[in-house]
């Protein structure tokens, strides 16, 4: 590969000479054939030719630069020069075989390579006569809120407009989860638990089971010391915490588990209560389950044992209530303290497998120079370095000393605590007994980091929190779903089951 590029600069100069005039050059280098000739992504051409921007009623099609550069007179030349410079730099410094095109095709990356002004330049009428009610609601939302939310972009909902993506939907997805799990033996009853030891829970009326790990109670230090590398100040001050015994699920709630809930409870229509039915259903036996999602909640990554994602906090809590109801046990989300205790599994280091966070970090000058060895962390954690930008199944990693998998990385996990940066300093006393976090707040704690995070964020003590509004940004429904996040794929949850020391159950 490299040898070819020795000829690149002279070739470029020769090109200028041959074409003689800049405008001819600009025109030539903006043609589809030119893009395809140089760019090392053959799939881009074929997926473009399968897209609605190529297959049109009139037979005209939209060219590469129509979307990937702004319109003429709106920064076209500047962006063209920038793009060209970036391409040349990449050709010289990077191995094109290492590019993960699936990752680059995901929304948050793709939006940097498509110009909103170019969409609007062609699509001047956002309310064509054939627009559906859902489309009209979405475009009305876009025009109403665009000014205050610059992140609202056409591509958020129309990711597949320029390049075909198999299975992509941005519409009501009433068939979601309908075909999985058939032809298998259905459990009639939940697991019986008589002693405090690991057990396999069975979801009655489904073919799904999952392992629960007995976590013996104890005392530990919540948070990270001031000198922990890559720590954030919200991880302190360190507090001594005492916890009762509890059970925690071996893995993050999987699509199989969540879809068992979805299949048994999902509502056909949308709730008319914009605030949700959660409060009401506490007082009744009936659980009102999730409405059908909008779009593809699993991102096309596959379901099965991968963690359920795009699930709202409300949905996760409702799942726990439902699971408690049909198993006769007391399932809930872990508290932040329980989560960290389970993750640490007796360790006081930044990670349960040891090591210095800054030695695992891949970005930054120091990391580049010292060529950090990441083989240890790679075997325990799905994070930015090894995830290929998506979630992975439990078999991908080794469990922690308690036997829990994916405690850090893969997906971040909801905790029941409200998030406050100074939550730990609000605790008083020498040893805090079963802390449950601040009594009020606006966003919830999420822990463990995800497939998107670098080494620093998958430390046992690292804290994060939900971003409810941003996570619903591109949900075009009015009102927005209380069950599904349209814009958050890196958070899931794990259940804990309470253990009653008096009854031993």
């Amino acid at each position: 590969m490299k040898k070819k590029w020795i000829w690149f600069i002279p070739g470029l100069l020769a090109g200028f000479l041959i074409f003689g005039s800049g405008s001819v050059m600009v025109k030539h280098t903006s043609e589809n054939e030119y893009c395809a000739s140089c760019h090392i992504h053959p799939q881009a051409t074929s997926s473009w030719m399968q897209s609605v921007h190529y297959i049109t009623k009139s037979g005209t099609y939209t060219n590469c630069t129509d979307c990937h550069l702004p319109p003429h007179g709106q920064g076209y030349l500047i962006e063209k020069v920038k793009t060209g410079a970036r391409d040349i730099w990449s050709q010289w410094t990077k191995d094109s075989a290492s590019f993960n095109w699936d990752e680059k095709g995901q929304l948050e990356n793709a939006r940097h390579h498509v110009f909103e002004s170019s969409c609007i330049a062609c699509h001047q009428n956002l309310f064509p006569p054939e627009l559906t009610k859902e489309g009209a609601d979405a475009h009305l939302y876009y025009t109403s809120y665009k000014e205050k939310q610059p992140d609202l972009q056409c591509i958020n909902c129309h990711l597949n407009a320029g390049h075909f993506i198999a299975g992509y939907t941005h519409g009501g997805n009433t068939g979601f989860g309908a075909t999985s799990l058939s032809n298998m033996v259905t459990y009639q009853s939940p697991a019986l638990v008589s002693r405090f030891e690991n057990f396999k829970e069975q979801i009655p009326g489904s073919v799904v089971s999952f392992n629960m790990i007995a976590i013996p109670g104890g005392t530990f230090s919540l948070g990270s010391p001031d000198d922990e590398p890559l720590r954030d100040s919200d991880e302190g001050p360190v507090k001594k915490v005492s916890l009762d015994s509890f059970y925690m699920a071996e893995i993050e709630v999987s699509w199989d588990e969540y879809l068992a809930f979805y299949a048994q409870t999902s509502g056909e229509g949308r709730s008319s209560d914009t605030k949700g039915n959660g409060a009401k259903s506490q007082h009744t036996d009936a659980i009102s389950g999730a409405t059908p999602p909008y779009g593809q909640p699993d991102q096309g990554w596959g379901k099965g044992l991968r963690p359920a994602i795009s699930i709202s906090f409300h949905a996760a809590e409702t799942y726990c209530k439902w699971l408690s109801g049909i198993t006769g046990k007391n399932y809930r989300l872990p508290t932040e303290a329980e989560w960290e205790y389970a993750c640490r599994a007796g360790s006081t280091d930044p990670y349960f497998f040891g090591g210095d966070p800054s030695r695992y970090q891949k970005s930054g000058l120091r990391a580049k120079i010292s060529r950090n060895d990441t083989s240890v962390i790679n075997s325990f954690v799905v994070y930015a370095e090894n995830s290929r930008a998506k979630t992975q199944e439990p078999g991908f990693v080794t469990a922690n000393p308690f036997g829990l998998k994916h405690m850090t990385g893969n997906v971040a996990e909801f905790c029941s605590d409200w998030y406050q940066a100074d939550a730990y300093s609000q605790y008083s006393g020498d040893v805090i007994d079963n802390p449950k976090g601040p009594s009020t707040g606006t966003e919830r704690v999420i822990r463990g980091g995800s497939y998107k995070d670098e080494a620093g964020m998958v430390r046992s003590a690292a804290r994060e929190y939900t971003r409810t509004e941003a996570w619903l940004r591109t949900d075009p429904q009015m009102p927005k779903s209380i069950w599904w996040y349209s814009d958050c794929f890196y958070v899931g949850f794990r259940v804990v089951c309470e253990f009653d020391t008096k009854t031993g159950k």
């Binding site: 309310f127 006569p129 009610k133 109403s144 665009k146 939310q149 914009t274 964020m457 971003r467 009015m478």
Partner: protein, 451 residues
């Protein structure tokens, strides 16, 4: 994902993100004159008659009193205009309208173009008309408007244009589709077509009272009509005949009538309120489940307040008007502008009556003028579309109603995202599956609940 700056600021900044300004198409263009400070605002040049042109055929959906009046106003707007189809859910309404058009305008409607039933609207739209006049009870307006624009028809929409937030968004979307198709949409907020109002608007917009800092508006009048149930009517037929007393059909009177005044303030300020706290009650209404009085404090984004009142009770003081206070003066929005000391700076000069007496009426009545403006827009190829404006004014009224019904503060953000849809799911001449309860705000006192 976790960066020091963004995460610290996050909770503070996102809470502030809310509804931005919706854009409004406007007839009026402001332009600075060469000499500097004075702004000249151009308003629509009103014609006394629409220009001649190829025959325009209109169909009427909703043949009650207002529909029949609108049909006659349409026929009076200019030469070569015809009503060719009538539709209503009630046979006697169609018959009466047909009779009235014959008597008043010598206008005959063919038997095969008179439609009765819940699908009559589609048959009228499909009967070869160019213009559709929608004048049923407001509940049905969004669906009829969408069907008319789907069929590429120009539309006259009576106000209010919807009764709930879902309907309002539907009308906004349909209005935008109509704009994309080059269709004209005139709504029945006829003050915008009333020459004295428009002239006052021009003076206010040009700065005669300075910046507007407060507003009031009123529709306080005597009770409207009502019907009692009749054994030969189904519940659906009864409710539709008695529609101005039922919230799902009319939107309640703050929507059905008072939208006029709220629309005037929306028009003069160029803004709509972002939240409302109101109350109301039902003191003397005879049938249905509506209130008969509302009082609402509307607040605009810049903090400006608008107080709105409406009432339908006999034997009280009546007032149907608007008032705006500016930094340099005030106006009744209709025909008079005062300075801060109360001295009249300007008044509208009405044309003299036939016997030479000072007049009090505009030359062409607004109900006819709005049809002249519609036909003129169609025939001159200059589409005119006020559908979105009126949908927003109607939504403001709905916001006030919901605040009064619930006793809560209600925001425009909530309205824009609400899935509230009134009315039954099924439309047959039989029982109607809707709540007939009168809303009661707040919580009742429970004896012993306080110690």
């Amino acid at each position: 994902m976790k960066t020091g700056i963004s995460r610290r600021n996050f909770l503070g900044t996102t809470a502030a993100a809310g509804l931005t300004s919706l854009t409004f198409p406007s007839l009026l263009t402001g332009c600075s004159s060469e000499k500097g400070k004075k702004t000249t605002v151009e308003v629509m040049a009103f014609l006394d008659q629409a220009p001649d042109g190829p025959e325009l055929k209109a169909g009427l959906i909703g043949c009650g009193g207002r529909g029949t009046g609108a049909a006659i106003d349409f026929l009076s707007a200019g030469p070569n205009l015809k009503i060719v189809a009538l539709g209503d859910v009630l046979q006697d309404r169609v018959d009466a309208c047909r009779e009235e058009l014959k008597k008043e305008k010598g206008h005959e409607i063919a038997d095969e173009n008179c439609f009765v039933g819940f699908d009559a609207f589609q048959k009228v739209i499909d009967s070869g008309v160019d213009v559709v006049i929608c004048a049923t009870p407001p509940f049905f307006r969004p669906e009829h408007f969408a069907a008319a624009v789907e069929a590429r028809k120009h539309v006259f929409l009576e106000k209010p244009v919807c009764v709930d937030p879902v309907g309002a968004r539907s009308v906004i979307a349909t209005a935008r589709k109509a704009a994309g198709l080059g269709l004209s949409v005139v709504t029945g907020t006829q003050r915008r077509h009333q020459r004295d109002y428009v002239e006052t608007y021009k003076n206010v917009a040009e700065g005669m009272i300075g910046d507007i800092v407060a507003a009031n508006c009123y529709w306080n009048q005597s009770k409207l009509w009502h019907f009692f149930p009749d054994p030969k009517w189904s519940e659906m037929e009864y409710m539709i005949r008695d529609w101005v007393n039922w919230s799902w059909l009319s939107g309640d009177h703050i929507v059905e009538q008072h939208v006029h005044n709220l629309d005037v303030i929306h028009w003069f300020t160029g803004k709509y309120p972002v939240k409302a706290t109101g109350f109301g009650s039902r003191l003397r209404r005879v049938t249905g489940n509506q209130y008969d009085n509302f009082s609402t404090d509307f607040i605009f984004e810049n903090g400006m307040h608008m107080h709105s009142m409406c009432r339908q009770i006999n034997g009280c003081v009546n007032n149907v008007s608007e008032f705006i206070q500016g930094t340099k003066g005030s106006s009744n929005c209709r025909n008079s502008i005062l300075d801060l000391s109360g001295t009249e700076l300007w008044k509208y000069e009405y044309p003299a009556t036939e016997d030479g007496q000072p007049g009090t009426e505009v030359k062409v009545g607004p109900y006819k003028q709005e049809h002249i403006d519609l036909v003129t827009a169609i025939r001159t190829g200059k589409p005119y579309n006020e559908g979105e404006n009126t949908a927003m004014s109607t939504l403001v009224a709905i916001m006030g109603r919901i605040s009064a019904y619930t006793g809560k503060e209600v925001t425009m953000d909530e309205m824009m995202n609400s899935d509230m849809k009134l009315g039954p799911e099924v439309f047959v001449m039989g029982p109607v599956n809707v709540s007939k309860d009168v809303p009661v705000a707040g919580e009742a006192y429970i004896p012993g609940s306080e110690s």
